[in-house]
């Protein structure tokens, strides 16, 4: 589904990714773990296309999308959930969800499914997204990406700033959804419980490189990498 080869990227000429290789198979849920500053968010931005890589290739669904702009990638089936609950604060919940419709062009909009996963979103349809709590905004961000039934879901630190109970609930929902709809998921995270609950396979990232691949979640190893 997704294959990244020797990806280099930088912010303002400061290199952040220094040759990332990773691949995700169809239907798989893969986690990328690493400390702050390891380059996880940059990796996600490069995959969705918000950051132009310096070199390397990104293949999605058998196509080379390295030079495609992000909106084309999204319409091609990538659903992206940005870090820090990047919803549109002055748009209502429903309008936020509607923005997700463009993902995976031609796919059917799945409002029912989303409302089923996150009933609170239906309740708050008319409310402005910016006035909701952090957890609710995170659900909205996830729901928004799911509306368009993406083939590949990209999650950037879904647990950040969210209550543990909601984190757990959300991990579960995402896992369930992936199973039900055979959606491939790539997420980056430093919260152990999310990694535990979701990942079938794990990459460990340090200083812009993948330093280790863990077949299943090896709890202790992961913990040392997070250096808690």
């Amino acid at each position: 589904m997704l294959a990244i080869e020797d990806l280099h990227a930088s912010y303002d000429s400061t290199p952040v990714l220094r040759g990332v290789d990773l691949s995700v198979d169809e239907g798989e849920i893969v986690g990328v773990i690493g400390k702050n500053g390891a380059g996880k968010t940059t990796l996600m931005k490069s995959v969705i296309g918000l950051l132009e890589p310096d070199s390397g290739t990104i293949q999605f669904d058998g196509r080379d999308v390295t030079d495609e702009p992000s909106d084309a990638r999204a319409r091609g089936g990538m659903g992206y959930i940005p870090q820090r609950r990047d919803v549109f604060p002055s748009l209502t919940v429903e309008e936020n969800l509607r923005m997700g419709e463009s993902i995976n062009e031609g796919g059917e909009a799945r409002y029912d499914a989303v409302y089923e996963y996150f009933p609170i979103l239906e309740e708050r349809r008319e409310q402005k997204a910016g006035t909701m709590s952090g957890g609710q905004q995170q659900m909205l961000a996830v729901g928004r990406a799911l509306v368009g039934s993406p083939d590949l879901l990209l999650l950037d630190e879904p647990s950040e700033g969210v209550q543990p109970s909601i984190v757990a609930e959300m991990s579960e929902t995402i896992g369930q959804m992936s199973e039900e709809t055979e959606t491939t998921v790539l997420f980056v995270e430093q919260n152990l419980s999310v990694i535990d609950a979701l990942a079938e396979r794990c990459y460990v990232m340090e200083k812009g490189r993948i330093v280790e691949e863990l077949a299943a979640v090896e709890h202790e190893t992961v913990a040392t990498h997070l250096a808690v």
Partner: protein, 295 residues
């Protein structure tokens, strides 16, 4: 007494229509894409010239106005592709660049069409009341101003384009990552802003003098209103238009045109000082307070 009130009302409608119509195109472009378009007056010029020239060529007035709007839209779209897209969210640079554009446009209009065009007469006659009468067309203009605001509200709030445009304005990268072709949204929004400026030119073509400098007479009101209005294009423009219209009409009525104009500008300066975020900021904080109270 009743006639005086009617006079004041008509003058308010007149000011309101002028302020709103002078502003909307600029407000859409500034509010949505952070371009301070000093060539705004020249967009209006294109609309007015398009209308007057095609009326002169024999088209009925309504159709001629359509041509004016269309010409301005095309003008705007071409500029977006060639110039404006390099200036998004560089408001200060955009100011200098569009000033250059304004000089060029005015002078090319002069070279192309001479110092003046022969004028379209104002249609629709007048409304009489007591010793007074008022141009019916100007009352219609006020109606159109309101209609423009309402349709913009509908467009931005209830259509897919509107939602996408608002999302793009708020957070362009995220909108793009949701599959929105933000380049097209920008193009469309700029086209819309241009069309609105063109509409203003078309509507006022029968009432103002056709010279290449005609755009300048809209510029001050437009800028003042945008600033007083603040970040929200619609709410800001309508409220600022209303506020400045009342100030202008009242003082003009009481003390003459000059005082009316100065009062309006001073009111604007005070408003900017007291509400650095514009009227929109005031509304936002009021809403926030109400929301808090409600919880």
């Amino acid at each position: 007494m009743i006639y005086d009130t009617l006079n004041l009302l008509f003058q308010f409608l007149d000011s309101f229509a002028f302020i709103v119509l002078a502003t909307v195109g600029l407000a859409v472009i500034f509010g949505m894409m952070g371009i301070i378009n000093l060539a705004h007056g020249e967009f209006i010029l294109v609309g007015a010239y398009g209308t007057t020239l095609s009326y002169g060529a024999g088209l009925p007035l309504a159709l001629a106005m359509g041509v004016g709007v269309l010409a301005t839209t095309v003008f705007g779209l071409v500029l977006e592709r060639t110039v404006m897209r390099r200036l998004y969210h560089r408001p200060l640079d955009s100011m200098v660049a569009t000033w250059g554009l304004s000089l060029v446009t005015v002078q090319l209009a002069r070279i192309g069409f001479g110092n003046t065009l022969s004028q379209v007469g104002t249609p629709l006659g007048s409304i009489s009341y007591g010793a007074f009468s008022y141009s019916a067309y100007r009352v219609v203009l006020a109606g159109i101003a309101v209609a423009v605001l309402v349709s913009l509200y509908w467009l931005f709030m209830y259509t897919e384009f509107g939602t996408q445009a608002r999302a793009t304005m708020e957070d362009e990268p995220t909108a793009r990552s949701m599959g929105v072709d933000t380049g097209r949204i920008y193009l469309g929004t700029f086209g819309l802003g241009s069309a609105l400026a063109g509409l203003t030119g078309a509507l006022y073509a029968p009432t103002i003098t056709m010279t290449p400098e005609l755009g300048a007479s809209f510029l001050v009101e437009a800028f003042v209103t945008v600033v007083v209005g603040g970040s929200s294009v619609l709410v800001g423009t309508s409220l600022a238009g209303g506020f400045l219209g009342v100030v202008n009409a009242t003082f003009t009525n009481l003390a003459g045109t000059f005082i009316g104009q100065v009062a309006m500008l001073l009111a604007a300066i005070l408003a900017i000082r007291l509400l650095p975020e514009g009227i929109t900021g005031l509304i936002d904080s009021w809403r926030a307070k109400r929301a808090e109270g409600g919880q």
